[in-house]
Amino acid sequence: MSLKRASITAALTVLTLYALLIVSLGWFLDGTILRDTLFSERTLFAAQLSLTAATVATGLAILLAVPAAYGLSRYDFRGKAAAETVLEFPIIVSPAALGAIILIFFNNPLGEWVQNHIMQFVFTFAGIVLAQFVTVLGLSVRMLKAAFDEVPVELETVARTLGATPRHVFFTVTLPQAKNGMIAALILTWAKALGEFGATMMVAGTMAMRTETIPIAIFMRLSSADIEGTVAMILILVFIGLAALYTARRVLERKTYA
């Protein structure tokens, strides 16, 4: 088999594998149960909680990630290599371990002080946001850094010779140039936060109608052998995830300025 044929076959195998897994959900798909599950109070709560938590976590992550990514993209500083390496941390450490780390933190004196004097995180909405925030932050910085790397430094230098301060350059040259990459990063960060399970379960627990995000709902329904309900929840997540991926791809493919 030629290299071309072998590589195309491999690519199509990947597509087939995921498509088969999604299509196989149809075996347990029951229209009535699907409708009842989708519009049940519990599902709507899970969807609302997931969307809210993911949006807040993404917003917080972006607030920190944009300046961090710009710093990593544009400046050399002591500790830069370590900072770049640590971005991989949430990828190499399983989300469950990440959640466990957060949980353990709140059991040390500093964590307990935070819980008692600033905000309760364990088994709360704030805990869900924190778990998602920690999980997606590294990914968010990486994607935003890639977006900033795409903007030629030369444009910023020219803008400064034209009298613009670094802040003015950032808002009038860098941000408009990195816009598409940033929007794509935002969408993917949000989708990743929405699907977060391991860390959320560790920090916020699995309490129905309280800390039950969509991934937690999938786990809880499967634990109680509610296969049809599980399938319905999975389909919600798959639909949102694929829509986010499609949108991100379209944004990235869009020519910035035709």
């Binding site: 803008a159 400064r160 010779t161 034209l162 009298g163 301060t165 140039q177």
Partner: protein, 359 residues
């Protein structure tokens, strides 16, 4: 106007070492050098992108060395022009006046004048991606001038253009320079461009300032072998100093089988290279007899490259050597009538000879 004193800066392992140059107001100074010679490093140090490790940059009597880029008031046209693709031509041109919040009355006349001179009036509402190469160059030039800059830095901005467009833009730069009394620092590796635009040049090689001076002088008297090599001067012959007086040396050039008197000073016994520019070599025959003070060589034509050069191999010397002759219009016509391997006599006027230390 612009004065660079002992400027030293480092980028990784590369060091730009103790650069000194000055550019008078209203003049164009070219910094020439091969790739990797440090031209862009020098430019970045002047711009303020790179920190200076020693020395200073003075502009109009002010030390700019520690000032932020935006306070240096420099016009800058980089190699890739750096036009903002998300803005229209008009917004590109007005970027500096908006960044500096200048009142309309302050910039409107200049804007209109520059747009008229460069002929970009019809492009103002267009996106950068819709412009041709030449149009982009004009927009980048006007944008750099809109800042009322004291000094304009051109970093090989014409490299990607075809020959006719480049020459057209050279004329435009000349015109703008004269009209606006611009001071220009041109970074280039193109000798023709430097000769056309600049009154003075600095030759950088491997981070070292090899030569500084008037464009014509640098070309006619390269100071080092490295400069001669960069300028493409091939006619260099080994010689030894056999006598010295106050302002002259007598050298013995065994390759040319000739002893000659040259101006300058070097210790007796010093090894030097005697050189002559290709265009100063004259073809001699019955119609064009040798002149007084010419070194005559006879040899055979080895290679004729029309409109470029003629290489002549001299087999009657102690070793074969090739003399490179630029083909002036007159010479081309005469060589076109010759076959390769034909015997010729050439004259090297002693007054046109220069020498370079080889020690």
């Amino acid at each position: 106007m612009l004065e660079i004193k002992n400027l030293t800066t480092k980028v990784g392992d590369f060091c730009l070492d103790s650069i000194n140059l000055s550019v008078d107001a209203g003049k164009c100074h070219a910094v020439l050098g091969p790739s990797g010679s440090g031209k862009s490093t020098l430019l970045n140090a002047i711009l303020g992108v790179l920190p200076i490790t020693a020395g200073c940059v003075w502009l109009d009597g002010e030390d700019m060395s520690r000032r932020p880029i935006e306070q240096r008031n420099l016009g800058y046209v980089p190699q890739h022009l750096g036009l903002f693709p998300h803005l229209s031509v008009r917004d590109n041109l007005l970027y500096s006046v908006r960044a500096r919040k200048r009142p309309r009355i302050d910039w409107q006349p200049l804007f209109e004048k520059l747009v008229e001179v460069t002929g970009i009036g019809d492009l103002l509402e267009r996106r950068i991606s819709t412009l041709s190469g030449g149009e982009r160059q004009r927009v980048a030039l006007v944008r750099a001038l809109m800042g009322k800059s004291r000094l304009v830095l051109l970093d090989e901005p014409f490299t990607a253009l075809n020959e006719s467009l480049r020459q057209e833009l050279w004329w435009l730069v000349k015109e703008l320079q004269r009209e606006r009394e611009l001071t220009v620092l041109l970074i280039t590796h193109d000798l023709t461009e430097a000769y056309f635009l600049a009154e003075n040049i600095t030759v950088l090689i491997n981070g070292r300032q090899e030569q500084n001076g008037e464009t014509v002088n640098v070309y006619h008297s390269p100071a080092t072998l490295a400069v001669a090599g960069f300028l493409g001067i091939k006619n260099l012959f080994s010689a030894t100093v056999v006598h010295r007086s106050e302002n002259h040396i007598v050298v013995d050039c065994t390759v040319l089988n000739h002893r000659m008197r040259l101006s300058g000073n070097a210790p007796v016994g010093a090894k030097i290279r005697v050189g002559i520019l290709p265009e100063n070599v004259a073809l001699r025959d019955a119609l064009h007899p040798p002149r007084q003070g010419e070194i005559l060589l006879t040899g055979r034509v080895q290679l004729i490259q029309m409109k470029a050069s003629v290489d002549i191999r001299f087999e009657n010397l102690d070793r074969p050597l090739v003399v490179h002759i630029s083909a002036s219009q007159r010479l081309v016509k005469r060589f076109m009538l010759m076959d390769e391997q034909v015997g010729v006599t050439i004259g090297l006027p002693e007054t046109a000879l220069f020498w370079i230390p080889d020690y």
